[in-house]
Symmetry: C2
Subunit: 303 residues, 2 copies
Protein backbone atom coordinates (compact mmCIF):
# COMPACT_ATOMS: atom_id res chain seq x y z
CA UNK A 1 0.00 0.00 0.00
CA UNK A 2 2.79 2.41 -0.80
CA UNK A 3 2.95 4.43 -4.02
CA UNK A 4 5.88 5.04 -6.35
CA UNK A 5 4.48 8.37 -7.38
CA UNK A 6 1.75 10.57 -5.91
CA UNK A 7 0.55 13.81 -7.48
CA UNK A 8 -1.07 16.41 -5.27
CA UNK A 9 -3.09 19.01 -7.13
CA UNK A 10 -3.15 22.03 -4.85
CA UNK A 11 -0.57 21.28 -2.12
CA UNK A 12 -1.87 23.69 0.54
CA UNK A 13 -2.76 22.92 4.17
CA UNK A 14 -4.38 19.53 3.50
CA UNK A 15 -2.53 18.50 0.33
CA UNK A 16 0.79 19.68 1.73
CA UNK A 17 0.22 17.84 5.00
CA UNK A 18 -0.61 14.69 3.04
CA UNK A 19 2.65 15.00 1.09
CA UNK A 20 4.62 15.52 4.31
CA UNK A 21 2.84 12.63 6.06
CA UNK A 22 3.31 10.17 3.16
CA UNK A 23 6.98 11.04 3.01
CA UNK A 24 7.46 10.87 6.77
CA UNK A 25 5.94 7.38 6.81
CA UNK A 26 7.90 6.36 3.68
CA UNK A 27 4.70 5.51 1.84
CA UNK A 28 5.70 7.26 -1.37
CA UNK A 29 8.70 7.42 -3.68
CA UNK A 30 8.11 10.83 -5.25
CA UNK A 31 5.49 13.53 -4.74
CA UNK A 32 4.62 15.86 -7.61
CA UNK A 33 2.85 19.13 -6.88
CA UNK A 34 0.52 20.69 -9.44
CA UNK A 35 -0.87 24.17 -9.03
CA UNK A 36 -1.69 27.45 -10.71
CA UNK A 37 0.82 29.65 -8.96
CA UNK A 38 4.55 29.05 -9.08
CA UNK A 39 5.08 30.75 -5.72
CA UNK A 40 2.78 28.32 -3.88
CA UNK A 41 4.48 25.34 -5.46
CA UNK A 42 7.92 26.68 -4.59
CA UNK A 43 6.69 27.09 -1.00
CA UNK A 44 5.46 23.48 -0.98
CA UNK A 45 8.84 22.34 -2.28
CA UNK A 46 10.64 24.42 0.35
CA UNK A 47 8.79 22.78 3.26
CA UNK A 48 9.33 19.34 1.74
CA UNK A 49 5.67 18.58 0.99
CA UNK A 50 6.50 17.82 -2.67
CA UNK A 51 9.63 16.71 -4.53
CA UNK A 52 8.95 18.41 -7.85
CA UNK A 53 6.24 20.55 -9.39
CA UNK A 54 4.61 21.63 -12.62
CA UNK A 55 1.91 24.07 -13.66
CA UNK A 56 0.76 21.58 -16.31
CA UNK A 57 -2.00 19.36 -14.92
CA UNK A 58 -1.82 16.67 -17.64
CA UNK A 59 1.94 16.42 -17.37
CA UNK A 60 1.76 16.39 -13.58
CA UNK A 61 -0.67 13.49 -13.30
CA UNK A 62 0.41 11.24 -16.19
CA UNK A 63 2.85 9.05 -14.27
CA UNK A 64 1.13 9.12 -10.89
CA UNK A 65 -0.20 6.03 -9.12
CA UNK A 66 -2.39 8.24 -6.94
CA UNK A 67 -3.68 11.67 -7.93
CA UNK A 68 -5.10 13.68 -5.05
CA UNK A 69 -7.18 16.77 -5.80
CA UNK A 70 -6.64 19.04 -2.81
CA UNK A 71 -7.98 22.34 -4.08
CA UNK A 72 -10.99 24.23 -2.78
CA UNK A 73 -14.31 22.49 -3.40
CA UNK A 74 -15.31 24.81 -6.27
CA UNK A 75 -12.33 23.69 -8.39
CA UNK A 76 -12.28 19.94 -7.66
CA UNK A 77 -14.74 18.82 -10.35
CA UNK A 78 -13.19 20.77 -13.21
CA UNK A 79 -9.66 19.66 -12.34
CA UNK A 80 -10.74 16.05 -11.85
CA UNK A 81 -12.47 15.92 -15.23
CA UNK A 82 -9.42 17.46 -16.88
CA UNK A 83 -6.98 15.10 -15.11
CA UNK A 84 -8.72 11.79 -15.91
CA UNK A 85 -7.81 11.56 -19.64
CA UNK A 86 -4.12 12.11 -18.81
CA UNK A 87 -3.89 9.51 -16.02
CA UNK A 88 -2.17 6.19 -16.48
CA UNK A 89 -4.10 2.93 -16.51
CA UNK A 90 -4.69 1.48 -13.03
CA UNK A 91 -4.10 4.76 -11.22
CA UNK A 92 -6.31 6.00 -8.40
CA UNK A 93 -7.96 9.43 -8.41
CA UNK A 94 -9.02 10.97 -5.10
CA UNK A 95 -10.17 14.32 -3.82
CA UNK A 96 -10.23 15.78 -0.31
CA UNK A 97 -13.28 18.00 -0.78
CA UNK A 98 -15.34 18.95 2.29
CA UNK A 99 -18.54 17.96 0.48
CA UNK A 100 -18.95 14.72 -1.40
CA UNK A 101 -22.33 14.23 -3.15
CA UNK A 102 -21.88 16.93 -5.78
CA UNK A 103 -18.24 16.05 -6.44
CA UNK A 104 -18.94 12.32 -6.82
CA UNK A 105 -21.95 12.98 -9.06
CA UNK A 106 -19.93 15.31 -11.28
CA UNK A 107 -16.70 13.31 -11.54
CA UNK A 108 -17.92 9.71 -11.62
CA UNK A 109 -19.49 9.85 -15.13
CA UNK A 110 -16.10 10.97 -16.47
CA UNK A 111 -14.03 8.24 -14.81
CA UNK A 112 -12.44 5.79 -17.27
CA UNK A 113 -12.96 2.06 -16.55
CA UNK A 114 -9.21 1.67 -15.92
CA UNK A 115 -8.94 4.61 -13.49
CA UNK A 116 -10.33 4.22 -9.96
CA UNK A 117 -12.03 7.10 -8.23
CA UNK A 118 -11.94 7.07 -4.42
CA UNK A 119 -13.63 10.16 -3.00
CA UNK A 120 -12.46 11.04 0.50
CA UNK A 121 -12.59 13.68 3.20
CA UNK A 122 -9.94 13.81 5.91
CA UNK A 123 -11.63 15.47 8.90
CA UNK A 124 -8.64 17.57 9.83
CA UNK A 125 -7.54 21.10 9.22
CA UNK A 126 -7.78 24.47 10.83
CA UNK A 127 -8.82 28.00 10.05
CA UNK A 128 -5.32 28.51 8.64
CA UNK A 129 -4.52 28.07 4.98
CA UNK A 130 -1.55 27.32 2.77
CA UNK A 131 1.33 24.92 2.84
CA UNK A 132 3.07 27.01 5.51
CA UNK A 133 0.51 25.62 7.98
CA UNK A 134 0.96 22.04 6.74
CA UNK A 135 2.38 19.40 9.07
CA UNK A 136 3.09 15.69 8.83
CA UNK A 137 1.06 14.90 11.96
CA UNK A 138 -2.15 16.66 10.88
CA UNK A 139 -4.02 13.39 10.32
CA UNK A 140 -2.79 11.46 13.35
CA UNK A 141 -5.80 10.67 15.51
CA UNK A 142 -8.23 12.11 12.97
CA UNK A 143 -10.97 10.44 10.95
CA UNK A 144 -10.91 10.11 7.17
CA UNK A 145 -14.26 9.48 5.51
CA UNK A 146 -14.37 7.54 2.23
CA UNK A 147 -17.56 7.78 0.18
CA UNK A 148 -17.65 4.93 -2.34
CA UNK A 149 -20.50 4.21 -4.75
CA UNK A 150 -21.56 0.92 -6.36
CA UNK A 151 -19.10 1.74 -9.15
CA UNK A 152 -16.11 2.01 -6.80
CA UNK A 153 -13.22 -0.42 -7.11
CA UNK A 154 -12.90 -2.41 -3.87
CA UNK A 155 -9.14 -2.95 -4.15
CA UNK A 156 -8.44 0.78 -4.62
CA UNK A 157 -10.73 1.59 -1.73
CA UNK A 158 -8.73 -0.81 0.43
CA UNK A 159 -5.43 0.66 -0.71
CA UNK A 160 -6.52 4.19 0.16
CA UNK A 161 -7.98 3.02 3.51
CA UNK A 162 -4.69 1.33 4.37
CA UNK A 163 -2.75 4.50 3.56
CA UNK A 164 -4.92 6.63 5.85
CA UNK A 165 -4.62 4.10 8.64
CA UNK A 166 -0.85 4.11 8.17
CA UNK A 167 -0.99 7.90 8.63
CA UNK A 168 -2.72 7.38 11.97
CA UNK A 169 -6.28 8.15 10.86
CA UNK A 170 -9.38 6.11 11.51
CA UNK A 171 -11.23 5.33 8.27
CA UNK A 172 -15.02 5.56 8.04
CA UNK A 173 -16.96 4.59 4.93
CA UNK A 174 -20.39 5.88 4.01
CA UNK A 175 -22.39 7.18 1.07
CA UNK A 176 -21.68 10.67 -0.27
CA UNK A 177 -25.17 11.73 0.81
CA UNK A 178 -24.67 10.44 4.37
CA UNK A 179 -21.32 12.24 4.54
CA UNK A 180 -22.83 15.54 3.47
CA UNK A 181 -25.65 15.34 5.99
CA UNK A 182 -23.21 14.57 8.81
CA UNK A 183 -20.75 17.28 7.81
CA UNK A 184 -23.55 19.85 7.51
CA UNK A 185 -24.13 19.24 11.21
CA UNK A 186 -20.63 18.91 12.66
CA UNK A 187 -18.75 21.34 10.41
CA UNK A 188 -20.77 23.54 8.06
CA UNK A 189 -23.46 24.62 10.56
CA UNK A 190 -20.90 25.35 13.31
CA UNK A 191 -18.94 27.51 10.88
CA UNK A 192 -21.99 29.42 9.72
CA UNK A 193 -23.19 29.80 13.33
CA UNK A 194 -19.88 31.26 14.45
CA UNK A 195 -20.16 33.83 11.67
CA UNK A 196 -23.80 34.59 12.57
CA UNK A 197 -22.87 34.95 16.23
CA UNK A 198 -20.26 37.57 15.35
CA UNK A 199 -22.84 39.37 13.19
CA UNK A 200 -25.22 39.48 16.14
CA UNK A 201 -22.64 41.14 18.39
CA UNK A 202 -22.58 44.94 18.35
CA UNK A 203 -19.32 46.71 17.55
CA UNK A 204 -19.42 48.36 20.98
CA UNK A 205 -19.66 45.00 22.73
CA UNK A 206 -17.07 43.09 20.67
CA UNK A 207 -13.93 44.45 22.44
CA UNK A 208 -15.19 42.83 25.65
CA UNK A 209 -15.08 39.36 24.13
CA UNK A 210 -12.78 37.10 26.17
CA UNK A 211 -11.43 33.57 25.78
CA UNK A 212 -14.88 31.99 25.49
CA UNK A 213 -15.94 34.10 22.53
CA UNK A 214 -12.55 33.71 20.89
CA UNK A 215 -12.82 29.95 21.10
CA UNK A 216 -16.47 29.86 19.99
CA UNK A 217 -15.73 31.92 16.88
CA UNK A 218 -12.23 30.72 15.95
CA UNK A 219 -13.52 28.88 12.88
CA UNK A 220 -15.08 32.08 11.55
CA UNK A 221 -11.53 33.26 10.81
CA UNK A 222 -11.49 30.74 7.95
CA UNK A 223 -11.38 31.89 4.31
CA UNK A 224 -14.89 33.13 3.32
CA UNK A 225 -14.50 32.16 -0.37
CA UNK A 226 -13.49 28.64 0.53
CA UNK A 227 -16.47 28.28 2.85
CA UNK A 228 -18.85 29.73 0.26
CA UNK A 229 -17.85 26.85 -2.03
CA UNK A 230 -18.73 24.38 0.70
CA UNK A 231 -22.04 26.04 1.60
CA UNK A 232 -23.03 26.21 -2.09
CA UNK A 233 -22.17 22.57 -2.59
CA UNK A 234 -24.10 21.40 0.49
CA UNK A 235 -26.90 23.95 0.33
CA UNK A 236 -29.86 21.62 0.92
CA UNK A 237 -28.43 19.88 3.98
CA UNK A 238 -27.19 23.16 5.41
CA UNK A 239 -30.65 24.70 5.07
CA UNK A 240 -32.10 21.78 6.98
CA UNK A 241 -29.58 22.06 9.80
CA UNK A 242 -30.05 25.83 10.06
CA UNK A 243 -33.76 25.21 10.50
CA UNK A 244 -32.98 22.66 13.18
CA UNK A 245 -30.81 25.19 15.07
CA UNK A 246 -33.49 27.86 14.67
CA UNK A 247 -36.00 25.49 16.24
CA UNK A 248 -33.69 24.86 19.22
CA UNK A 249 -33.12 28.61 19.68
CA UNK A 250 -36.85 29.23 19.51
CA UNK A 251 -37.43 26.57 22.17
CA UNK A 252 -34.76 28.05 24.40
CA UNK A 253 -36.17 31.53 23.98
CA UNK A 254 -39.53 30.08 24.99
CA UNK A 255 -38.08 28.47 28.12
CA UNK A 256 -36.46 31.79 29.09
CA UNK A 257 -39.61 33.82 28.35
CA UNK A 258 -41.93 31.76 30.49
CA UNK A 259 -39.29 31.02 33.13
CA UNK A 260 -39.20 27.27 32.47
CA UNK A 261 -35.79 26.94 34.13
CA UNK A 262 -36.07 23.16 34.44
CA UNK A 263 -36.37 22.73 30.67
CA UNK A 264 -33.49 25.12 29.99
CA UNK A 265 -31.30 23.41 32.58
CA UNK A 266 -32.08 20.01 31.04
CA UNK A 267 -31.00 21.32 27.63
CA UNK A 268 -27.75 22.73 29.05
CA UNK A 269 -26.99 19.45 30.82
CA UNK A 270 -27.62 17.43 27.69
CA UNK A 271 -25.38 19.78 25.70
CA UNK A 272 -22.65 19.48 28.32
CA UNK A 273 -22.81 15.69 28.05
CA UNK A 274 -22.63 15.87 24.26
CA UNK A 275 -19.63 18.16 24.55
CA UNK A 276 -17.92 15.75 26.94
CA UNK A 277 -18.44 12.95 24.42
CA UNK A 278 -16.44 14.99 21.90
CA UNK A 279 -13.45 14.66 24.23
CA UNK A 280 -11.91 17.95 25.14
CA UNK A 281 -8.47 18.93 24.00
CA UNK A 282 -6.56 20.39 21.12
CA UNK A 283 -6.73 18.65 17.73
CA UNK A 284 -3.23 17.27 18.22
CA UNK A 285 -4.38 15.57 21.41
CA UNK A 286 -7.15 13.72 19.61
CA UNK A 287 -7.43 10.05 20.24
CA UNK A 288 -9.41 7.81 17.92
CA UNK A 289 -13.02 7.80 18.94
CA UNK A 290 -15.58 5.10 18.60
CA UNK A 291 -17.49 5.73 15.41
CA UNK A 292 -21.08 4.56 14.96
CA UNK A 293 -21.16 0.97 13.80
CA UNK A 294 -22.82 1.70 10.46
CA UNK A 295 -19.97 3.99 9.50
CA UNK A 296 -17.09 1.60 10.12
CA UNK A 297 -15.07 0.81 7.02
CA UNK A 298 -16.53 -1.85 4.81
CA UNK A 299 -14.54 -4.82 3.60
CA UNK A 300 -12.28 -5.09 6.61
CA UNK A 301 -13.80 -8.29 7.90
CA UNK A 302 -13.62 -11.70 6.27
CA UNK A 303 -11.27 -10.69 3.50
CA UNK B 1 -3.53 50.30 47.12
CA UNK B 2 -2.54 47.16 48.97
CA UNK B 3 -4.69 45.51 51.62
CA UNK B 4 -3.74 44.14 55.03
CA UNK B 5 -6.51 41.59 54.91
CA UNK B 6 -8.68 40.35 52.06
CA UNK B 7 -11.51 37.87 52.48
CA UNK B 8 -12.58 35.79 49.53
CA UNK B 9 -16.00 34.22 49.86
CA UNK B 10 -15.92 31.18 47.58
CA UNK B 11 -12.26 30.79 46.59
CA UNK B 12 -12.80 28.72 43.38
CA UNK B 13 -11.42 29.43 39.91
CA UNK B 14 -11.91 33.22 40.01
CA UNK B 15 -11.67 33.84 43.75
CA UNK B 16 -8.71 31.47 44.09
CA UNK B 17 -6.91 33.10 41.18
CA UNK B 18 -7.50 36.50 42.77
CA UNK B 19 -5.96 35.26 46.02
CA UNK B 20 -2.96 33.82 44.19
CA UNK B 21 -2.53 36.97 42.09
CA UNK B 22 -2.78 39.37 45.04
CA UNK B 23 -0.23 37.32 46.94
CA UNK B 24 2.10 36.97 43.96
CA UNK B 25 2.10 40.76 43.51
CA UNK B 26 2.43 41.31 47.27
CA UNK B 27 -0.76 43.38 47.36
CA UNK B 28 -2.13 41.68 50.45
CA UNK B 29 -0.95 40.71 53.90
CA UNK B 30 -3.34 37.87 54.63
CA UNK B 31 -6.11 36.20 52.63
CA UNK B 32 -9.03 34.57 54.41
CA UNK B 33 -11.18 32.06 52.59
CA UNK B 34 -14.85 31.62 53.47
CA UNK B 35 -16.93 28.78 52.10
CA UNK B 36 -19.53 26.17 52.83
CA UNK B 37 -17.39 23.08 52.35
CA UNK B 38 -14.28 22.39 54.38
CA UNK B 39 -12.76 20.30 51.57
CA UNK B 40 -12.86 23.20 49.07
CA UNK B 41 -11.28 25.56 51.58
CA UNK B 42 -8.54 23.04 52.40
CA UNK B 43 -7.87 22.76 48.66
CA UNK B 44 -7.63 26.55 48.37
CA UNK B 45 -5.20 26.59 51.29
CA UNK B 46 -3.16 23.80 49.71
CA UNK B 47 -2.62 25.71 46.46
CA UNK B 48 -1.79 28.87 48.39
CA UNK B 49 -4.82 30.89 47.28
CA UNK B 50 -5.73 31.66 50.90
CA UNK B 51 -3.79 31.81 54.18
CA UNK B 52 -6.55 30.73 56.54
CA UNK B 53 -10.21 29.81 56.32
CA UNK B 54 -13.48 29.64 58.17
CA UNK B 55 -16.98 28.36 57.50
CA UNK B 56 -18.37 31.32 59.46
CA UNK B 57 -19.14 34.21 57.11
CA UNK B 58 -19.43 36.90 59.80
CA UNK B 59 -16.21 35.83 61.46
CA UNK B 60 -14.45 35.59 58.10
CA UNK B 61 -15.28 39.11 56.95
CA UNK B 62 -15.10 41.09 60.19
CA UNK B 63 -11.45 42.12 59.96
CA UNK B 64 -11.17 42.35 56.18
CA UNK B 65 -10.28 45.55 54.30
CA UNK B 66 -11.70 44.02 51.11
CA UNK B 67 -14.39 41.36 51.00
CA UNK B 68 -14.77 39.71 47.59
CA UNK B 69 -17.85 37.60 46.91
CA UNK B 70 -16.69 35.02 44.37
CA UNK B 71 -19.51 32.50 44.49
CA UNK B 72 -21.90 31.63 41.68
CA UNK B 73 -24.27 34.44 40.74
CA UNK B 74 -27.27 32.89 42.48
CA UNK B 75 -25.58 33.11 45.91
CA UNK B 76 -23.92 36.53 45.66
CA UNK B 77 -26.83 38.66 46.87
CA UNK B 78 -27.68 36.57 49.91
CA UNK B 79 -24.05 36.33 51.02
CA UNK B 80 -23.45 40.03 50.42
CA UNK B 81 -26.48 41.03 52.48
CA UNK B 82 -25.36 38.69 55.28
CA UNK B 83 -21.77 39.91 55.20
CA UNK B 84 -22.44 43.67 55.36
CA UNK B 85 -23.48 43.91 59.03
CA UNK B 86 -20.33 42.07 60.10
CA UNK B 87 -17.85 44.15 58.07
CA UNK B 88 -15.61 46.72 59.66
CA UNK B 89 -16.05 50.42 59.04
CA UNK B 90 -14.30 51.68 55.88
CA UNK B 91 -14.03 48.25 54.30
CA UNK B 92 -14.80 47.60 50.63
CA UNK B 93 -17.27 44.94 49.48
CA UNK B 94 -17.00 43.58 45.95
CA UNK B 95 -18.41 40.72 43.96
CA UNK B 96 -17.20 39.07 40.77
CA UNK B 97 -20.62 38.05 39.42
CA UNK B 98 -21.05 37.61 35.66
CA UNK B 99 -24.16 39.78 35.74
CA UNK B 100 -24.35 43.13 37.48
CA UNK B 101 -27.74 44.88 37.33
CA UNK B 102 -29.60 42.44 39.56
CA UNK B 103 -26.74 42.09 42.02
CA UNK B 104 -26.22 45.83 42.37
CA UNK B 105 -29.96 46.45 42.74
CA UNK B 106 -30.25 43.79 45.43
CA UNK B 107 -27.12 44.58 47.46
CA UNK B 108 -26.92 48.37 47.28
CA UNK B 109 -29.95 49.08 49.51
CA UNK B 110 -28.31 47.01 52.25
CA UNK B 111 -24.91 48.70 52.13
CA UNK B 112 -24.02 50.66 55.25
CA UNK B 113 -22.84 54.27 54.76
CA UNK B 114 -19.41 53.29 56.11
CA UNK B 115 -18.97 50.24 53.86
CA UNK B 116 -18.19 50.77 50.16
CA UNK B 117 -19.65 48.50 47.53
CA UNK B 118 -17.67 48.17 44.29
CA UNK B 119 -19.35 45.72 41.92
CA UNK B 120 -16.97 44.20 39.41
CA UNK B 121 -16.62 41.52 36.75
CA UNK B 122 -13.20 40.24 35.72
CA UNK B 123 -13.62 38.99 32.14
CA UNK B 124 -11.50 35.92 32.62
CA UNK B 125 -12.12 32.29 33.37
CA UNK B 126 -12.64 29.08 31.53
CA UNK B 127 -15.05 26.17 31.34
CA UNK B 128 -13.12 24.64 34.24
CA UNK B 129 -14.16 25.10 37.84
CA UNK B 130 -12.65 25.01 41.29
CA UNK B 131 -9.51 26.27 42.91
CA UNK B 132 -7.47 23.49 41.25
CA UNK B 133 -7.84 25.44 37.98
CA UNK B 134 -6.88 28.75 39.62
CA UNK B 135 -3.69 30.52 38.60
CA UNK B 136 -2.00 33.78 39.52
CA UNK B 137 -1.78 34.91 35.88
CA UNK B 138 -5.48 34.45 35.03
CA UNK B 139 -6.15 38.20 34.91
CA UNK B 140 -2.99 39.32 33.10
CA UNK B 141 -4.05 40.89 29.81
CA UNK B 142 -7.74 40.60 30.65
CA UNK B 143 -10.35 43.27 31.20
CA UNK B 144 -12.10 43.90 34.50
CA UNK B 145 -15.37 45.80 34.33
CA UNK B 146 -16.44 47.94 37.29
CA UNK B 147 -20.08 48.99 37.48
CA UNK B 148 -20.46 51.91 39.88
CA UNK B 149 -23.68 53.76 40.61
CA UNK B 150 -24.22 57.36 41.81
CA UNK B 151 -23.95 55.99 45.35
CA UNK B 152 -20.47 54.52 44.78
CA UNK B 153 -17.49 55.84 46.71
CA UNK B 154 -14.95 57.30 44.28
CA UNK B 155 -11.92 56.54 46.45
CA UNK B 156 -12.85 52.87 46.84
CA UNK B 157 -13.50 52.64 43.11
CA UNK B 158 -10.02 53.99 42.50
CA UNK B 159 -8.44 51.60 44.97
CA UNK B 160 -10.09 48.60 43.34
CA UNK B 161 -9.18 49.88 39.84
CA UNK B 162 -5.56 50.26 40.89
CA UNK B 163 -5.49 46.71 42.26
CA UNK B 164 -6.80 45.26 38.99
CA UNK B 165 -4.30 47.27 36.98
CA UNK B 166 -1.54 46.00 39.26
CA UNK B 167 -2.70 42.46 38.42
CA UNK B 168 -2.24 43.22 34.72
CA UNK B 169 -5.88 43.83 33.85
CA UNK B 170 -7.36 46.73 31.93
CA UNK B 171 -10.17 48.39 33.87
CA UNK B 172 -13.39 49.49 32.18
CA UNK B 173 -16.15 51.35 33.98
CA UNK B 174 -19.79 51.38 32.92
CA UNK B 175 -23.30 51.14 34.35
CA UNK B 176 -24.58 47.75 35.53
CA UNK B 177 -27.18 47.84 32.74
CA UNK B 178 -24.57 48.55 30.04
CA UNK B 179 -22.42 45.72 31.39
CA UNK B 180 -25.28 43.24 31.24
CA UNK B 181 -26.21 44.16 27.68
CA UNK B 182 -22.59 43.78 26.54
CA UNK B 183 -22.05 40.51 28.36
CA UNK B 184 -25.30 39.09 26.98
CA UNK B 185 -23.72 39.52 23.55
CA UNK B 186 -20.08 38.50 24.07
CA UNK B 187 -20.54 35.81 26.72
CA UNK B 188 -24.06 34.65 27.53
CA UNK B 189 -25.33 34.33 23.94
CA UNK B 190 -22.16 32.51 22.76
CA UNK B 191 -22.53 30.06 25.62
CA UNK B 192 -26.20 29.43 24.93
CA UNK B 193 -25.51 29.14 21.19
CA UNK B 194 -22.79 26.54 21.72
CA UNK B 195 -25.27 24.49 23.75
CA UNK B 196 -28.00 24.93 21.09
CA UNK B 197 -25.55 23.93 18.36
CA UNK B 198 -24.81 20.67 20.17
CA UNK B 199 -28.55 20.08 20.59
CA UNK B 200 -29.02 20.50 16.84
CA UNK B 201 -26.40 17.84 16.03
CA UNK B 202 -27.67 14.29 15.76
CA UNK B 203 -26.06 11.59 17.91
CA UNK B 204 -24.99 9.75 14.74
CA UNK B 205 -23.17 12.81 13.42
CA UNK B 206 -21.48 13.90 16.67
CA UNK B 207 -18.56 11.41 16.58
CA UNK B 208 -17.42 13.05 13.32
CA UNK B 209 -16.90 16.39 15.03
CA UNK B 210 -13.29 17.53 14.61
CA UNK B 211 -11.20 20.40 15.96
CA UNK B 212 -13.55 23.08 14.63
CA UNK B 213 -16.60 21.76 16.46
CA UNK B 214 -14.57 21.12 19.59
CA UNK B 215 -13.41 24.72 19.63
CA UNK B 216 -16.84 26.15 18.78
CA UNK B 217 -18.50 24.27 21.64
CA UNK B 218 -15.75 24.29 24.27
CA UNK B 219 -17.68 26.73 26.47
CA UNK B 220 -20.69 24.38 26.52
CA UNK B 221 -18.63 22.14 28.82
CA UNK B 222 -19.18 24.75 31.56
CA UNK B 223 -21.27 23.98 34.62
CA UNK B 224 -24.99 24.11 33.62
CA UNK B 225 -26.18 25.22 37.09
CA UNK B 226 -23.74 28.09 37.15
CA UNK B 227 -24.84 29.23 33.69
CA UNK B 228 -28.51 28.92 34.60
CA UNK B 229 -27.89 31.48 37.36
CA UNK B 230 -26.39 33.84 34.81
CA UNK B 231 -29.14 33.33 32.23
CA UNK B 232 -31.82 33.84 34.90
CA UNK B 233 -30.15 36.99 36.13
CA UNK B 234 -29.77 38.47 32.63
CA UNK B 235 -32.94 37.06 31.12
CA UNK B 236 -34.21 40.18 29.35
CA UNK B 237 -30.96 41.05 27.59
CA UNK B 238 -30.39 37.45 26.66
CA UNK B 239 -33.84 37.19 25.09
CA UNK B 240 -33.04 40.25 22.98
CA UNK B 241 -29.71 38.86 21.78
CA UNK B 242 -31.25 35.47 20.96
CA UNK B 243 -33.78 37.28 18.79
CA UNK B 244 -30.94 39.14 17.11
CA UNK B 245 -29.14 35.88 16.33
CA UNK B 246 -32.38 34.31 15.09
CA UNK B 247 -32.79 37.24 12.71
CA UNK B 248 -29.25 36.76 11.34
CA UNK B 249 -29.84 33.02 10.88
CA UNK B 250 -33.12 33.72 9.11
CA UNK B 251 -31.35 36.17 6.76
CA UNK B 252 -28.60 33.65 6.04
CA UNK B 253 -31.13 30.91 5.38
CA UNK B 254 -32.82 33.30 2.97
CA UNK B 255 -29.54 34.02 1.13
CA UNK B 256 -28.91 30.27 0.81
CA UNK B 257 -32.48 29.51 -0.30
CA UNK B 258 -32.57 32.03 -3.11
CA UNK B 259 -28.91 31.57 -4.02
CA UNK B 260 -27.87 35.10 -3.04
CA UNK B 261 -24.22 34.10 -2.76
CA UNK B 262 -23.00 37.71 -2.80
CA UNK B 263 -24.98 38.58 0.33
CA UNK B 264 -23.82 35.42 2.13
CA UNK B 265 -20.20 36.04 1.16
CA UNK B 266 -20.44 39.63 2.42
CA UNK B 267 -21.73 38.36 5.76
CA UNK B 268 -18.90 35.79 6.04
CA UNK B 269 -16.30 38.44 5.19
CA UNK B 270 -17.66 40.84 7.76
CA UNK B 271 -17.67 38.06 10.37
CA UNK B 272 -14.08 37.16 9.49
CA UNK B 273 -13.06 40.79 10.02
CA UNK B 274 -14.87 40.93 13.34
CA UNK B 275 -13.10 37.72 14.37
CA UNK B 276 -9.73 39.17 13.42
CA UNK B 277 -10.45 42.22 15.57
CA UNK B 278 -10.81 39.87 18.54
CA UNK B 279 -7.13 38.97 18.11
CA UNK B 280 -6.60 35.29 17.75
CA UNK B 281 -4.78 33.23 20.34
CA UNK B 282 -5.22 31.50 23.62
CA UNK B 283 -6.44 33.50 26.64
CA UNK B 284 -2.93 33.52 28.09
CA UNK B 285 -1.67 35.23 24.94
CA UNK B 286 -4.14 38.07 25.31
CA UNK B 287 -2.81 41.54 25.00
CA UNK B 288 -4.79 44.52 26.20
CA UNK B 289 -7.14 45.68 23.50
CA UNK B 290 -8.44 49.10 22.83
CA UNK B 291 -11.75 49.46 24.58
CA UNK B 292 -14.43 51.82 23.32
CA UNK B 293 -13.86 55.32 24.65
CA UNK B 294 -17.08 55.48 26.65
CA UNK B 295 -16.03 52.47 28.64
CA UNK B 296 -12.63 53.68 29.76
CA UNK B 297 -12.28 54.04 33.50
CA UNK B 298 -13.64 57.25 34.93
CA UNK B 299 -11.68 59.39 37.27
CA UNK B 300 -8.26 58.62 35.83
CA UNK B 301 -7.78 62.03 34.32
CA UNK B 302 -7.30 65.26 36.17
CA UNK B 303 -7.32 63.77 39.62
Amino acid sequence: MSFDRVTIVGPGLIGGSLGLALKAKKLVGHVVGVGRREASLRAALAVGAIDSWTLDLAKGVQEADWVVLATRVGLVCELGIRAIPAMKSGAILSDVGSTKAEIVAMIEPHVRPDVHFVAMHPLAGSERRGVEAANAALFAGSVCVLTPTPRSNVKSLETVSAVWRALGAQVATMSPAAHDLILAQVSHLPHLTAACLLSAIGDDALPYGAGGLRSATRIAAGDPELWMDIFRSNRRNLLETIERLEKVLEDVRGFLSVGDDAALLAMLKSAQQKRQSLEAGAPEAQTPRTLPKAARPRGRKGR
